[in-house]
């Protein structure tokens, strides 16, 4: 496009060197922006496609000399369209398109045809076009499709599809939108095309295709609110309850960070479908929202509880699960650590894995809130229940952390503490490969620290001892490393176990100090590496030549790192 290319030609000289300097910046680059600008607007979507900036600029300068006579005309038409003087804009764009055709300037022909089509559309009174104007706009879009590059073609097809939709031809719109090669379009534009494809499919009666197109648009650009609104409206207007799709919609919004939208839409859909078969799945989706939303206990009590009471009154089958939510959020109950106990206590969520997982997450979340408020006993009860209900190792970890930080609870929760010590998750017969080893590792680390503070070093077979817990932690780390060799090593853990062995006169201390020193050196932690090496050196007894060699190697590595 001549006018833009003229600017491009000037800017390229200035912009490319700057771009070269700031290429690593994540901000939109001037060079790309300029290229984008050279495509102009469709009025419908921002233009797309990629242009070789340098090539485009050279071509632009060439065209400046050959197409001067219509560049001003184009600019004038563009400004008329922006102001809203569409009649003059239409005349101008038509003129430019025709002249570009004569000059074999396909880029300009496509661009002005796109703008011509859009100006014709906008000139229609209240968005309606008479037959002649429709035919003229369609012709202009077809021309842009014929002569445009992939970006212009996509814009033209999208514009034409929108016009066909307004004209009551959703099938024609679907055809146009499906012809767009989405793989060649950036995410921002793809979201728009998918949204329009959703609309066209919805109007064509293709419910499933509409739904997946809308979800695709959300995935492409989560903050594009229209796509989420359209998905919600599609679900809401459905003649039958679409519980599983509504749950998927909720989860998808949560996964893309649209937490507030997820909560708002799920609450409305639950209100609409409460009492329908499977409506507890929507209630579980709502718990997932609660679990990640920034709601406080006061928010839950003041804003959410009245809503839940309303749902319970309209759907008796949800009354028990909702009563359980009230208990999880507001009631006081003792720590429970047996699965059967918690199933009985939260009976409304005992039925299946998905129910137990949803309530487990909610209990963990409310535990966090109680902990934040300094109500540690209540927090501990919820962490324990979450752990016992859904075998949530994250909850177990936080239960261990409460015990670690508030030792007085150990005496009053002796049985819980014993269960933690026994590594309850490991003895429940769960699938070994599905265990949450990172959290199990952290949990044993915390428990080991509890005994370390009591200077209860113990042994490898004594549950209630630092040595046992840290050995279990190192075992857990080995399990993690088995599936993920890149997992960060635990130098401090080796150091702690070495200290414990050293306290008990166990010769294994030497090996562990060296392992710790090596791990510290590998992570660039020179100070700690030196300290571990010094601890190894201070151990009594002679050292085998192989050990001395290893000490020297680590020392050399430390020196290298330092220099």
């Amino acid at each position: 496009m001549k006018v833009h290319r003229k600017i491009l030609g000037i800017l390229t000289v200035v912009v490319i060197p700057l771009f070269a300097i700031t290429a690593e910046s994540q901000a939109p680059s001037p060079a790309v922006s300029t290229a984008s600008g050279s495509r102009g607007q469709t009025g419908n979507v921002p233009s797309s496609g990629k242009v070789d900036t340098t090539t485009g600029a050279v071509a632009g300068r060439y065209r400046i000399s050959t197409e001067q006579e219509y560049s001003d005309r184009f600019e004038e038409a563009r400004q008329k369209a922006a102001i809203g003087n569409y009649t003059e804009a239409i005349t101008g764009f038509q003129d430019v398109a025709d002249r570009a055709h004569q000059s074999n300037d396909s880029d300009t022909e496509a661009e002005s045809s796109l703008r011509l089509a859009r100006a014709i559309e906008l000139s229609g009174s209240k968005g309606t076009l008479d037959d002649a104007s429709f035919a003229r706009a369609k012709l202009a879009y077809d021309r842009a499709i014929q002569f445009g590059d992939p970006g212009q073609q996509a814009s033209a097809r999208n514009g034409l599809a929108s016009m066909l939709l307004r004209r009551g031809d959703p099938a024609g719109a679907v055809t146009q939108l499906r012809a767009i090669d989405l793989a060649r379009v950036d995410a921002s534009h793809r979201a728009v095309y998918r949204y329009n494809l959703g609309l066209a499919n919805e109007k064509s009666g293709n419910w499933a295709e509409a739904y997946s197109s809308y979800l695709g648009a959300i995935g492409d650009k989560p903050e594009y609110e229209s796509a989420a609104q359209a998905t919600f409206a599609l679900l809401q207007r459905s003649t039958q309850p679409r519980i599983s799709e509504a749950v998927q919609f909720n989860n998808f919004l949560l996964s893309t960070g649209q937490i507030s939208s997820a909560g708002g839409y799920t609450k409305q859909l639950l209100a609409q479908w409460a009492g329908k078969p499977d409506s507890q799945r929507l209630l579980a989706a709502l718990l997932q929202y609660y679990s990640v939303s920034p709601l406080t206990l006061d928010d839950l009590r003041e804003r959410e509880w009245p809503y839940l009471q309303h749902i319970a009154s309209s759907a008796p089958e949800l009354a028990e699960p909702i009563r359980d939510i009230q208990v999880a959020c507001f009631a006081s109950f003792p720590p429970m650590f047996e699965h059967y106990q918690v199933l009985d206590f939260f009976h409304g969520w005992a039925g299946g894995d998905w129910q137990q997982a949803a309530m487990g997450q909610m209990l963990k979340r409310t535990g966090d809130e109680f902990k934040k408020n300094g109500e540690f006993q209540e927090a501990l009860s919820r962490y324990a229940a979450a752990w016992a209900l859904s075998f949530d190792a994250d909850a177990a970890l936080y239960a261990a952390s409460v015990l670690h930080d508030h030792r007085q609870f150990i005496d009053s929760n002796e049985r819980l503490f014993d269960q933690l010590l026994n590594g309850i998750i490991e003895v429940k017969g769960m699938d070994y490969s599905k265990l949450d080893w990172p959290n199990i590792l952290r949990m044993h680390t915390l428990l080991g620290t509890i005994f370390e503070q009591e200077k209860h070093w113990g042994s490898e077979t004594e549950l209630r001892s630092a040595i046992f817990q840290w050995n279990r932690a190192i075992y857990a780390e080995a399990q993690i490393r088995h599936s993920n060799p890149q997992y960060p090593p635990s130098p401090e853990l080796y150091m702690k176990l070495a200290n414990a062995y050293q306290q008990t006169g166990n010769p294994k201390a030497l090996e562990l100090y060296l392992t710790a020193a090596q791990a510290f050196a590998d992570t660039g932690n020179v100070k700690q590496a030196r300290s571990a090496l010094a601890a190894a050196g201070s151990l009594n007894g002679s050292k085998a030549p192989s050990v001395q060699q290893r000490v020297d190697e680590i020392a050399a590595e430390i020196k290298k790192e330092q220099s």
Binding site: L18, I21, T22, S25, Q26, A27, P28, S33, G37, Q41, G43, N44, V45, P46, S47, Q79, A82, I83, G84, N85, R118, S125, A161, S162, L165, A173, A191, V192, Y195, N196, P222, E223, E225, T256, G257, Q258, I259, S260, P294, L397, Y398, A400, D405, N439, L441, R442, T445, L446, T449, P491, E492, L493, M495, T523, G524, N525, V526, K527, Q562, S563
Partner: protein, 286 residues
Amino acid sequence: MSRPGSNSFRIVELCGCVCLALLANRFAQAQQGQALPVGVSFEFADPQIVSFFDSDTQRKQIEQQIGAQFISRLQSRFHYWTFAPTSATVNVSLKLGLRESESQTVALWTALLNGSREITRWEKVVYPPGELIRLGMPTARQWLAKLPGVFDDGFLRSHNQEILNALKGVAPVGKDIILMPAAADPSLLPRAVLALDSNQYDDLQDCEFRLHYDWSAGGKVTIHSSGIGMHAPFAPATPPFDGIVVQLEKWQQGSNSQDIERMRNHLPELTPVEFYLEAIKGPGSD
């Protein structure tokens, strides 16, 4: 702990300085058409963590490097504003820091400030209970490797909507607005051009904006407007650029809101103050 003297630290330091220099350069080049800045600052803040650094100089260098990484991630996710190191001239800012709590749990917090007033705060666990006990305190290099990823995934992706909504509420995207000449067709709503370079912000051309004005008749006026998928020259900007065209729809003063047609004659009496992003929209077909 990597020390200021080590090679690895020097490389990190050099990269950070280059990064900062580029950032400062980019910010210095901010010109008409670029969205307004939102300040970003990071400090380790927690005394326990601070005490592990060899010197204040080393800590501050790492803080600047991490801050630069945060800016880069923010710019990538929310390019509707220009994120830059916090300065005295920037009113809205994101302040970040670390907090160590029970069981050596370390959390990254982010506070959105309007002037000195905290608007909202988010927090994300960086190291869960037990993690630092097994790892030991991270080195400068490890913080630099860890925190930007946590910020991107734990905040910007997971709380995308909350952060965007909070920014939309307090952080203007631009200041200058030019009223366009009236169209020949009197039924068309009045239009204005926003000082946002359409080359850089073309995905905002269908969005909704709140335009804030001072009214010569007294008081402040908010005009609700929508992009119409067009851009037009923002005159007399130097260098010239195309701004985003919006149509003006509602005139609001206090709680009173009315259609713009009724106040059309008063539009020339308005002096633009700033404008805000209201809703991110794409072109609909309905």
